[in-house]
Symmetry: C2
Subunit: 258 residues, 2 copies
Amino acid sequence: MTPPPLSKARAKLIRSLQAAKHRQAQQQFVVEGAKSVLELLASDFHTDLLVATADFLGQNHETLVRFTGETLEASAELLASLGNLETNDTALAIARMKPNDPVTIPPDEWALVLDDIRDPGNLGTILRIADWYDITTIIASPDTVDRYNPKVLQASMGSFTRVTVYYTDLPPLLSACTTPVFGAFLDGENIHQVNFGPGGLIVIGNEAHGISAPVQSHITRRITIPRFGRAESLNAAVATAVICDTLRNRPPAGRKSP
Amino acid sequence: MTPPPLSKARAKLIRSLQAAKHRQAQQQFVVEGAKSVLELLASDFHTDLLVATADFLGQNHETLVRFTGETLEASAELLASLGNLETNDTALAIARMKPNDPVTIPPDEWALVLDDIRDPGNLGTILRIADWYDITTIIASPDTVDRYNPKVLQASMGSFTRVTVYYTDLPPLLSACTTPVFGAFLDGENIHQVNFGPGGLIVIGNEAHGISAPVQSHITRRITIPRFGRAESLNAAVATAVICDTLRNRPPAGRKSP
């Protein structure tokens, strides 16, 4: 049975979800691109609608027989006109946002805390890094970019399906925290000499201003990536990766087998 | 003496340099933003023209007395209309490209080799990473994005002034190379167990396709960043940073004091 085509009203709704206010109102978001859509369908997100080319629907028949949402067929040209990202002429999906439920971090696990990360590429890349290093929880300040922003989803390369992001005011959360709170600064302890221990929070600051003063007062361990050359700083996502790689690979504490 | 204002013809020339073909024809490029412009003026690039607000010119008077190029004054509004990047209403400059001269890598130094890095944000971030880890030379395939692309310059945060990029066909260069050629793959030796030695080349592959077959045949050491979670891969710039951080900090070989 051939799926029905996409109506103009539906196309308009999909395009509207590029804007944060419409996503918030609908509690839905758009996932673009074959890889991301397949990751979405394999995840615990609820997908309401799949729009894809006949080719995609044919090639992924086995995955799609388990999909209970609505499926519509569209031409590559129409698909390309629906998204705002780089060329996507294969598939997109509309899924439901998850509730912003408070998270609990067990004392032997790691979580990232993002203090006002504004660039969607950075947040997406940080989701991908967290997923690579098996850090499944991110706590983000209310001003951190929306995790459902299309550029965040794109840069996360599917990792948005496996990493929880909880938005909350950081100081109250940090003041109630009993595990170590590490913060990345330019003048802290060399990360390669730090005993990270079995778990805690790693705070990453804003791209331009670093960690804000109210959050700084809750940092229990100031850490630094040693600099060898002359750049003033590292990109926020890059710093996150170097810290995660170090804490996961530094024997013996903090170590976990890959 | 107040600098003269910017003419319409000059504004048109500046805007034209956003396109690679015009940069190539003029052998000039545009640097936008106060920080990048100040880094440019402090570098060994030849700057032909500075366009800035009266405020910028006043605040940087001491730096500018040594500047021998042409200086023009423009309003914040006009400056904002000249660039294609995020808000820049302070300063921009036109500088001369450097010749694409062959580079020599001493056997006890490191260089990065980029096999077709296409995303300007990635190249800029890699320049910043190289600068942080005191790697001053990058060798790039001819299809790697232009180092003078405005988004590359922006993402490099001034590091474009301190890192040389030499564009050349990679296989002949690698076949003539006598130092180790490390390549980042998903199935190589754990970077935390590699003896990097005192120097060599680190090859980073294309964002989507990794290291191309003709380049792969010249890799002498396949290395891997250990994965702990489920992301399929890391972003190219992120992988570069983790590798550079490891080779600079792994005692005893490859170590260099920060």
